[in-house]
């Protein structure tokens, strides 16, 4: 599994069941560019535990507004459709892993 890029029409299906990690980003955002390869690695290593998605906030302003995202990168964890945790800004891989792990049980 790798990080799957999605847009608004696919959003509901993506978060509907299980654990979904969604990286909200934009092409002009430096920290987002740095975080992308880290998430890519994690998505491979944690493929059996969570599904990883990426969404461009410029292309999907409605979703960004719905979750009051005011700073990116913004990584949210959804569990069966409900947002249960969030992480703002870049974090090194092991800390990001711990962030995802603590939301899986």
């Amino acid at each position: 599994m790798s990080v799957k890029k999605i847009d608004a029409p696919e959003f509901e299906a993506a978060i509907k069941s299980g654990v979904a990690v969604i990286d909200f980003n934009a092409t002009w955002c430096g920290p987002c560019r740095m975080l992308a390869p880290v998430l890519e690695e994690l998505s491979e290593e944690m493929a059996s535990k969570a599904a990883f998605y990426a969404m461009d906030v410029d292309d999907n302003p409605g979703i960004a507004a719905r979750f009051s995202i005011s700073s990116i990168p913004y990584v949210a964890i959804f569990k069966d459709g409900v947002r249960v945790d969030e992480q703002i800004g870049f974090v090194p891989k092991e800390q990001l892993r711990a962030f995802v792990e603590r939301n899986i049980d």
Partner: protein, 294 residues
């Protein structure tokens, strides 16, 4: 792409200079970032009495010696500001303005000049408070923002933000060299920037909007940008572990992030030039060992 540096050293005080000298002597490819006049804390010292071999040397002379030493070893100083350092795993990525530079290891020697955050700042960081106008500007398309600038160079970021935002209130928290110039409009070509001479006090959220309390009142807005000369080390390096206000290091000057080291005042007291220089030496040797491992 530019070749990856072996060691990026941030800061040109005694710790940074010492680290650069040792790393270069060990044949590593070094990028030394900081002020080309070394540290003000050195150059403005009246007299230093405990630096071995240099009794009663003035701060200005010691700074001169540091620069001579770098020159002799052909180590250039790159005078550019690092806004963020990302631990990518096998290497580090340094954001310098809009450019990215890569290094296998990093030595932080930026001293302890960072101030205290405003009340409400940490809690709202990323939730309406930002340190980077160029990073988050697009999220403020058509909205209102307040920019607090601690140096004149932040005026360009306010200007950049105003290209996208509907309205920008700019608070210069510095004295301009020429007070007369204050009478001239700062942004004559940008009618949507309002300049206010005021001091920020506190940040809070009210009815879903951001509020900046100032000495003379409060400003309601969508986002608050705080643009300081230097930020605390854990904001410069996401994920870096601190010990109080200082970077947590072990005896090899290693931080919690593999490949990142710290030296000098940033690691804690005593704030002594010779202690900083000694730690810079240890950090450089540790970085060399890290690069040459396996």
């Amino acid at each position: 792409m530019e070749q990856r540096y072996d060691i990026a050293i941030i800061g040109t005080g005694p710790a940074g200079v010492s680290a650069a000298i040792t790393a270069t002597a060990r044949n590593k490819r070094v990028l030394l970032l900081g002020s080309t006049s070394t540290s003000d804390k050195v150059s403005k010292a009246h007299q230093i009495r405990n630096y071995p071999g240099l009794p009663e040397i003035s701060g200005e002379d010691l700074a001169g010696r540091f620069l001579d030493h770098l020159k002799k070893m052909e180590i250039p100083i790159t005078d550019r500001k690092v806004t963020m350092i990302y631990a990518m795993g096998e290497y580090f990525s340094l954001q310098i303005d809009q450019d990215f530079v890569e290094a296998k290891t990093v030595i932080l020697t930026t001293g302890v000049s960072f101030g205290k955050p405003l009340p409400g700042e940490d809690e709202n960081l990323g939730r309406g408070v930002s340190y980077c106008a160029t990073c988050d500007a697009a999220l403020y398309k058509g909205k209102e923002a307040v920019v607090v600038g601690w140096a004149p160079k932040e005026e360009s970021d306010a200007r950049f933000l105003a290209e996208l935002a509907g309205k920008v209130v700019y608070l210069p928290v510095y004295k301009r060299a020429d007070e007369e110039a204050m009478k001239d409009p700062l942004f004559p070509d940008r009618p949507n920037i309002e300049v206010r001479k005021d001091k920020p006090k506190r940040i809070l959220k009210k009815d879903g909007r951001m509020v900046l309390e100032t000495e003379s009142g409060e400003i309601q807005t969508d986002g608050i940008f705080l643009l300081r000369e230097s930020v605390s080390p854990d904001k410069l390096v996401p994920g870096l572990e601190l010990d109080g206000n200082h970077v947590k290091v072990d005896r090899s000057m290693a931080t919690n992030l593999p490949g990142m080291f710290a030296a000098g005042d940033i690691t804690g007291a005593p704030y002594q030039y010779i202690k900083a220089a000694g730690e810079g030496n240890v950090a450089a040797l540790s970085a060399v060992a890290w690069i040459d491992r396996a």
